[in-house]
Point group: C2
């Protein structure tokens, strides 16, 4: 009898004090928060009638200290609604609406009197929540052993996943049901210059999933600052994902000082795949820009001395020395290898090409000393970031490029010798300013020094941020490769133009990306922010550049054009060689025309792993650009131009696969046609296997421009 | 029969090819190098007829790779003699003779074709040797698992030892036979802010020993650059010491790139204790200075706002806040605690005192924001090194001090957040230059960040060196506390004026140093370089300053004066409070008179653990200063003034313990007498338990100065 009474009391307490609900502005999403047994915080999430997240635990496990995982009571709750529209410095759209209902639950731990707030923001397109640790007497410094955030899924979803890893995201996406992850893990873990997997069911975020009943779910994080990057571990019996933070060298996962908070944990959800792509939830969960002046931040379309090295046609290094010490090597006394790409004459050719075709900039890699012996050696003093090879004339090239209104993009490969980079950073940035550079591509290839730290640990997260903010002091834009995948920080720090943090086009020369790669990345990697994917490869058989390299690009030429639209980035490279573009100037015209900053974006078709078709309106114009990418099966795309201004005529130039095109056997079979389109036009367009198409939709300058053109039927 | 033949061949090969001998210039020391079984390099060392080092193995164990420990043959040997005299920028003597015979043995490993040179330098006062890895095809990068250098001792010597530790040398020296180390280890490991012991028989260097047959042996290292600090592990059955390098976070002990070399391993040996103190072997094994201009480097005698905080009389912090974030705290809105030492008014009093008594500088600790919450928190952004507390006016104090020809010494406590220090270093040094500071005391209290790295690991060794060389770019002198113990690098980088790296006077306020502490340190810690010991404590009962602090100084007042001579350093503090010195101005006169740079040094008496008496000739003068320190037993010192110029009369002022003085019960009982001395004078002088005496020996300016003085009898 006493048990019954106790049960009733618990139920009563539970329903009155221990439970809170929250709805999204459109009421499609419903969050339920409660304290479970032993005062464990739990939540669940429902979209319309479907379970997105089943009852899942929340909490933080601490080193030494009492963990913040149980014995909580709710000591306060606050609610608010928020609705504002803000303008990004650059982006896919001109304005972004930030509209959510918020619930902040203040939890007090009975045993420690410590207070933790869990703040939920429910948007129409998903959920964000984070842990906050307000200033308080009983909690100042603490060390995280593990974050214990669960995402209990409603079933064995189809997932687009990468192996969980503390050092790299450069894996091919595996598409499988969650129950198949364990069986496919071994094959999924392909070699990388630095990699640390942690579990046979470890997964990375952004993790894209699709439920059997048609829900699209994306789990990621927003505003990763001074905290370790979150991966997920899958309980593949119960389909529960749980957070796994990246450890430091001795296993600690985060050094915290209250007042502070974790990054936001995000669940984007919709029954339409396209809405996942259109979600601005991750950006909205980041803070407005910290910079008073952002006029120096500009999107960039560029070419570069890069693909020729990636393919093995030329070299980063100036000599064939095998073991050098940067402070001792004398390049003037060493015979050049004759294959060095970044020489003054050759860079001038790129500058000429950029100027001729209207590109803002030329990236030059391999310009600085040290490339003979830079990788995988745990070498501390590996580069100094300011000393050019003897055949690269910094001053002359600065003058030459400036004369043609072209910028050179700096390259800072750190070889993950991060302390060395920080030691030289001020000098390196100053050198850039003095020599006319306003953007840097940085790289973190290989294991982090000091050994034991990881690319995605708090120590490095802190470093990447330091590099971005210090760059801003010098009005420098950053494109960081091999750094942590983005989490929307470009809202706050818009000089972070792009990251790599996935398999980019370079892997087409390192064995190849899957044909469906670009139908997945916008649903996964790009949820956090832009990628410097470096599309535009017209010569897909690498052997044409390097007889020793049998790799080939799993894409048709037409699809390469589409990527400038489907793979959103304010930083877009035309990655192939000028000599190749000169052979295909009609197709190259699309790359010349396409914008890198946008007033509007419409996802016209989308299914992860199968196809994506997107239309974007170029910044400050009435011109639209459409890109469509598909998987290895090819397909027929059906789109409407209803996004155009009604009543106006536009000239659409369609760059498409020929009927006999194929990403392997006939990649360069494209056709270009010009037609007149209006907002009532509809396009039925074939894409070859591994193919796609691109369309520029331009307002005619005069009626005469329309002459001779037929309307799209 | 076949065995016998083989034996003969081995013997033959051994004697002709596998063995090399070397003698010191005076022939007292004999080194024997050989290849032992399986091509293992071994050496032994004999002093006159006594074994110093018995046959001991040499080699380097590698991670993954074939270790460089065996299968060697001698492929080359070179010999040379070297004899030069050089002048240190500052030092104990005007000129230093660097005189040695050298043997370099080139070893080739049969299995790998790798080459390693072991270079021996045999001086009259000991041995130095190191491993060198010349440029070669088969050895470029390698990772050290452990250095396997043995020092096989001839017996169960008496040792003056500290527990081996990767993070601190702030232990009390234990005096015991080697066989007693294990039994005394637990008691020896007293608590420290950062400590990592590694073995129940682990020992630190410099390790001072005395054999039963009267040999004094000191083992240390010289020129520790870009390598891990060496400790020793004792095989206490066989009395073999073996090198133990400090690991990184995951256990690696050194990242090497050929051509390179290890630091020198040093064995100083003599049958006279005083010759250990006079040895310049460690300095001679370092390179000449790297600086073209050293005119900005000057020894310093200083006072400071320091002891009052160490005793707890005042505070480093400006408020009583308990948890601060440097970028958020607003000191203007926080009530001061009223105990802040480094306030403008108070610092001016120190400047006045320094000017009045002829001190070059005033150290000020606690001047900058962050001291409320700086220690033991794994706090990354702990100090910014440029922001003063509201009550410390940098510009006003700069002007005030400059007007009195006094410098303020900067203080950079890093809290071992080393990355944070490096990030701010340029700005911090610039700030110093702009505000008239030319010397910095740096500190590394607490565990190194990132956690897992150690104070004495290669990562930090590299950092300390970076800090020194970067300071030189700004013409700044460095006094690094809690950094690695010195290894003679001040020859090469003479702006490294001093280090702490042992229990300094501060420990007298933290429970006390042993009464014999200062009779040992010159034989141990000071073998590597000067210590900022901060002597001159006249008020030995700390409770007089802070009613809550029962610590007391284990020294008489007279002995505190002696330390300015016995504890050689170009940086000497008068550490006590001006108010106390004002009560003892007659004794204080010695501190005012004593030099901090010397033309000559004579060790008059010495026995480690018992007593040390040293006479030094002040730079550019004919004045001498004598200091004598003894252990808890007191003693009678007998010295001769034969080092004085013959035929001249000098005025000796003798600052001595009274007959009833005692380091505990009557420490301030001193007496001062003035007498005339010549080169024929002899002094018989009493020292109390824990006592000592000091003597200034000045040339009279005129005959009149001698009037009324009696000759020393």
């Amino acid at each position: 009898m006493r048990q019954t009474i106790a049960f009733i009391i618990v139920l009563f307490t539970f329903s009155v004090v221990h439970s809170q609900d929250l709805q999204s502005p459109d009421k499609n999403l419903r969050l339920h928060f409660a304290l479970g047994e032993q005062g464990v915080p739990v939540y669940d999430l429902i979209y319309k009638t479907k379970e997105v997240i089943r009852t899942s635990k929340l909490g933080i496990q601490l080193v030494k200290d009492t963990s913040l995982t149980q014995n909580f009571s709710i000591s306060d709750t606050t609610r608010r609604s928020f609705d504002e529209t803000w303008k990004p410095v650059w982006g896919e759209v001109k304005e972004i609406r930030n509209h959510y209902n918020e619930l902040a639950v203040t939890l007090t731990q009975s045993t420690t009197k410590r207070v933790m707030i869990i703040r939920f923001r429910l948007f129409n397109d998903g959920l964000g929540f984070r842990y906050e640790f307000p200033e308080q007497k009983n909690l100042a410094y603490f060390i995280i052993k593990e974050e214990r955030t669960q995402f209990a899924l409603a079933g064995d979803h189809k997932a687009f996943w990468l192996p969980g890893d503390y050092d790299t995201q450069e894996y091919s996406t595996v598409t499988s049901n969650l129950s198949e992850v364990r069986g496919k893990m071994k094959e999924a873990v392909t070699p990388n210059a630095s990699q640390t997997t942690f579990s046979p069911t470890g997964l990375q975020t952004p993790l894209m999933m699709k439920s059997k009943d048609g829900l699209y779910i994306n789990i990621h994080e927003a505003a990763l600052l001074n905290y370790s990057c979150m991966s997920l571990n899958l309980d593949d019996k119960n389909f529960i994902l749980e957070s796994v933070l990246t450890p430091d060298a001795v296993g600690n996962k985060g050094f915290m000082q209250a007042p502070t908070q974790t990054p936001w944990r995000t669940v984007i959800v919709s029954d339409k795949a396209g809405e996942i792509l259109e979600s601005k939830l991750v950006l909205n969960l980041n803070e407005p820009t910290k910079y008073a002046n952002t006029s120096w931040i500009k999107p960039i379309k560029y070419v570069g001395v890069w693909w020729e090295m990636i393919t093995g046609k030329s070299s980063w290094s100036y000599t064939n020395l095998e073991n050098i010490q940067l402070d001792k090597v004398d390049y003037t006394k060493t015979p050049p290898n004759g294959t060095h790409g970044a020489n003054t004459k050759h860079v001038k050719e790129y500058i000429d090409f950029a100027a001729q075709h209207g590109f803002e900039a030329v990236l030059v890699e391999g310009w600085n000393t040290g490339w003979e012996d830079w990788f995988g050696k745990t070498k501390d003093y590996v580069f100094d970031f300011v000393t050019p090879y003897p055949d690269f004339d910094v001053k002359e090239l600065h003058q030459y490029a400036a004369g043609k209104n072209v910028k050179i993009i700096m390259h800072h490969e750190t070889s993950s010798s991060v302390r060395n980079y920080e030691r030289h950073m001020d000098t390196a940035y100053k050198f850039m300013v003095e020599n006319g550079y306003n953007a840097v591509k940085s790289g973190y290839v290989g294991n982090i020094l000091p050994i034991g730290e990881h690319h995605y640990g708090q120590w490095l997260i802190n470093h990447y941020q330091y590099a971005i903010e210090k760059a801003a002091d010098y009005k420098i834009m950053v494109n960081a490769h091999e750094a942590v995948r983005p989490t929307g920080l470009h809202r706050t720090y818009p000089n972070l133009l792009a990251n790599e943090a996935a398999r980019g086009t370079e892997y087409e020369s390192f064995g190849g990306n899957n044909p469906d790669h670009t139908t997945i990345l916008p649903f996964t990697r790009l949820i956090g922010g832009p990628m410097d994917y470096t599309p535009g490869i017209f010569e897909t058989k690498i052997i044409k550049y390097n007889p020793k390299n049998n790799s080939w690009v799993r894409s048709t030429l037409a699809r390469q054009l589409a990527l400038y639209v489907t793979m959103y980035s304010p930083l877009q490279m035309a990655a192939d060689l000028p000599e190749t573009y000169n052979k295909f100037l009609d197709a190259f015209q699309f790359i010349k025309d396409v914008a890198v900053d946008w007033d509007d974006t419409k996802v016209l078709e989308a299914e992860p792993g199968d196809y994506i078709t997107i239309a974007r309106k170029a910044k400050g114009t009435n011109n639209w650009f459409i890109g469509s990418t598909c998987d290895e099966n090819g397909r027929e795309s059906n789109i409407s131009f209803s996004f155009l201004d009604p009543g106006k005529k536009y000239i659409a130039t369609i760059y498409a696969d020929k009927a006999n095109a194929h990403y392997d056997t006939n990649p360069q079979a494209y056709e270009i046609r010009k037609v007149i389109v209006t907002s009532k036009s509809k396009l039925k367009q074939f894409s070859a296997p591994g193919g796609g198409y691109a369309v520029s939709v331009m307002e005619p300058k005069t009626e005469a421009d329309l002459k001779g053109l037929k309307s799209l039927k």
